[in-house]
Amino acid sequence: MKIRLRAFGIAKDILKSGVVELDEDQIQTTGDVKSYLSKAYPEFDDLLTFSLAVRDEYQEDDYMLAENDEVIVIPPVSGG
C-alpha cells in the first residue's frame, strides 16, 4: 500500500527526513508500519516508545490504513 510517513522530533532524525513516501505490499495496518520501521530503521527500537497517529488521532496497532494515508510517527513527547 502507498502511504506517507510524517515524522517529528527524533523520528525525523532517524528517518533523515520529515516526510517519507512508502509503497510496501506488506503494510495494511499501523502495526505493519511499526514492524516496517523497526526493521528498516533499528534505531526505533532504542526509543523509550513510539506511537503512530492518523487523522490527528493516536491509533492502536490494528488500525486499517487506506491508500495514500498520512501516518504520523510520534516518538516520546516532551512538551511542557
Binding site: 517529528f8 522530533g9 523509550l48 490527528d56 516532551s78 512538551g79 511542557g80
Partner: protein
C-alpha cells in the same frame, strides 16, 4: 470558555490569567513551565520546541474539554510556545478558573500531566557539546 494556542510568541502569566477570569470567577490556578539552565547537572544553552500542530491543538482541546466536563471548570487556557527558547523563557502556561478552588488544583495538575504524556510536542536540549531530544530514550 476554552483557549488553546501554540505560537512562537512570548507568553506570560498575567495574559493567561486574563483569559480565564471573569466577574463570576473566584479562584484561578496556574501552572507555568520554565526552561531550566541544566539537566542532570549539565548546562543547557537553549531549547528547541517542535509541535505537530494540528494534532497538538486537538489534544490540548481534549484536555480543556475534559476539565470543563469533569471538574466544572468555568474557563481553561493552555498555551504552549514552540521554536527556540532561551533559559528562563516560559514554555507553557495552563490556567484553570473554577467556582471552587480545590478542583482547580486537581484540574490544572491533570492538564499538565496529560499534556506531558499525550500532546505531540518535542523539545531538544542544546548543550555546549551536542543536543538531545528530551525523553526519547529510556
Amino acid at each position: 470558555m476554552i483557549s488553546v494556542k501554540i505560537s512562537e510568541e512570548k507568553i506570560n502569566p498575567t495574559n493567561s490569567y486574563g483569559e480565564v477570569t471573569d466577574p463570576g470567577v473566584g479562584g484561578t490556578v496556574q501552572f507555568v513551565g520554565t526552561v531550566r539552565n541544566q539537566t542532570k547537572g549539565k548546562k543547557v544553552l537553549r531549547l528547541e520546541f517542535e509541535a505537530y500542530e494540528s494534532m497538538a491543538i486537538k489534544e490540548m482541546n481534549k484536555i480543556a474539554e475534559t476539565i470543563v466536563a469533569q471538574w466544572s471548570a468555568t474557563h481553561v487556557s493552555i498555551h504552549h510556545r514552540v521554536g527556540t527558547l532561551e533559559i528562563k523563557d516560559i514554555a507553557v502556561i495552563i490556567s484553570v478558573a473554577t467556582p471552587h478552588r480545590k478542583v482547580a488544583f486537581e484540574a490544572c495538575q491533570y492538564a499538565i500531566n496529560t499534556l506531558k504524556e499525550r500532546v505531540p510536542i518535542w523539545k531538544k536540549e542544546i548543550f555546549e557539546d551536542g543536543e538531545v531530544w528530551v525523553a526519547a530514550h529510556p
